[in-house]
Symmetry: C2
Subunit: 198 residues, 2 copies
DNA sequence: CCCGCCATGTAAAAGGTTACATGATTTA
DNA sequence: TAAATCATGTAACCTTTTACATGGCGGG
């Protein structure tokens, strides 16, 4: 279908769901969890309101993450039940997760998915990092808002198509402003704290 | 990946891109067009800013639509160039397109894709229909906004997860309100016209 | 006794992306 | 003479969805 503004930039890395799994693993007190429990934690928790992962995909992704060295897996034998595959983050896994968590998202659309997850996870893993994330995201959205405003100000020929193009820009600008206001309402945005932004 | 709130309700019908193709065909003065030109019309026009369709997919969808009886295709022979497949809408194609155009979208996310396309097309095909679409979309978003507000008002336990759930709701509500304001800014929303809603 | 839970998967199908094939013809 | 345009597609590949397989065990 290829929706959205950018050319499907998946060049960089892995799917959001994989980071969700890494993140859920990271916030386990025990440090390890098996697929079934992970599925329940996902379905029952807040993150389940944002992302949905079918069992088939869940195990598929866990395999992939293990294959790629982001998880290490040990088997716990059980009596009368299938063995549990207990997964835990490797150093590489932590690394990959931290890098992902640190990067603000580019588009408004992504705020409603990736950013929410990043915020949720980094609040639990590292509040200072959460603050940095929010501030950087504010910068990104501010830049975006200004770019859109400039585009709207620019004079167009008044053919119907250009007029419609302006209407599109106005929608995007409104969505961006709403996101900005929401970001500013977060505790991380108003916190008096000296930990500067980068 | 399976994002979004609802269970991927694609039970009803076909992909948005297919309606885009039907719609672009519908607004051709000649009533017919071949794939290559369609691709250019898409890439050059405003719709290209919303959806992107690779050539491979384009011809694939045209075949599907032909197979399903929404398009009829005639071949125009050419010298020194491949033959042109000239497509035009069948009665069933018009029907399918009109039904799709008449239905408002459910979520805020879909406003930025499907609704924009519906608006663009129905403005050119039937302005009265465009007015109905906008008004119905306003109703949908109003209902959504009120539902979200009610959810936010409801008292939660103040566990971190519930607090975060509320934060999510606030984001959604902000996005919905922005969409409402944008809808209200459209000429269709303020037009003094007697053509009632439904 | 039947159903649903536990825990892991596999297999098939559907959908989407990317790159390339073809081959004449106009443009630089 | 090289490149881009025209016009249509195919093939290979990846991702996602859906449904089902397994098999003991606890609850109604």
């Amino acid at each position: 279908m290829t929706f959205g503004g950018k050319p499907t930039e998946r060049g960089e890395s892995r799917a959001t769901v994989e980071y969700v799994l890494l993140g859920l693993l990271a916030i386990q007190p025990s440090g390890e969890i098996h697929g079934y429990d992970l599925g329940r934690a996902l379905a029952d928790g807040v993150i389940g309101q944002i992302v949905r992962v079918e069992p088939g995909m869940l195990y598929h992704y866990l395999k992939r993450l293990s294959r790629d060295g982001l998880l290490s897996t040990r088997v716990e034998a059980q009596v009368g039940r299938p063995d549990r595959q207990l997964h835990s983050l490797t150093a590489e896994g932590w690394n990959s997760l931290s890098t992902w968590l640190a990067a603000p998202v580019r588009s408004t659309r992504e705020i409603r998915l990736e950013f929410l997850i990043k915020l949720y996870l980094s609040r639990q893993l590292d509040p200072a990092q959460a603050r940095r994330l929010v501030l950087e995201q504010l910068n990104v959205m501010n830049a975006r808002s200004q770019r859109l405003e400039a585009q709207i100000q620019a004079t167009y020929p008044s053919t119907p198509d250009y007029v419609f193009g302006e209407t599109i820009l106005q929608l995007r600008e409104g969505q961006t402003r709403a996101a900005l206001e929401w970001l500013n309402s977060l505790p991380e945005a108003s916190d008096s704290s000296e930990s500067g932004n980068e």
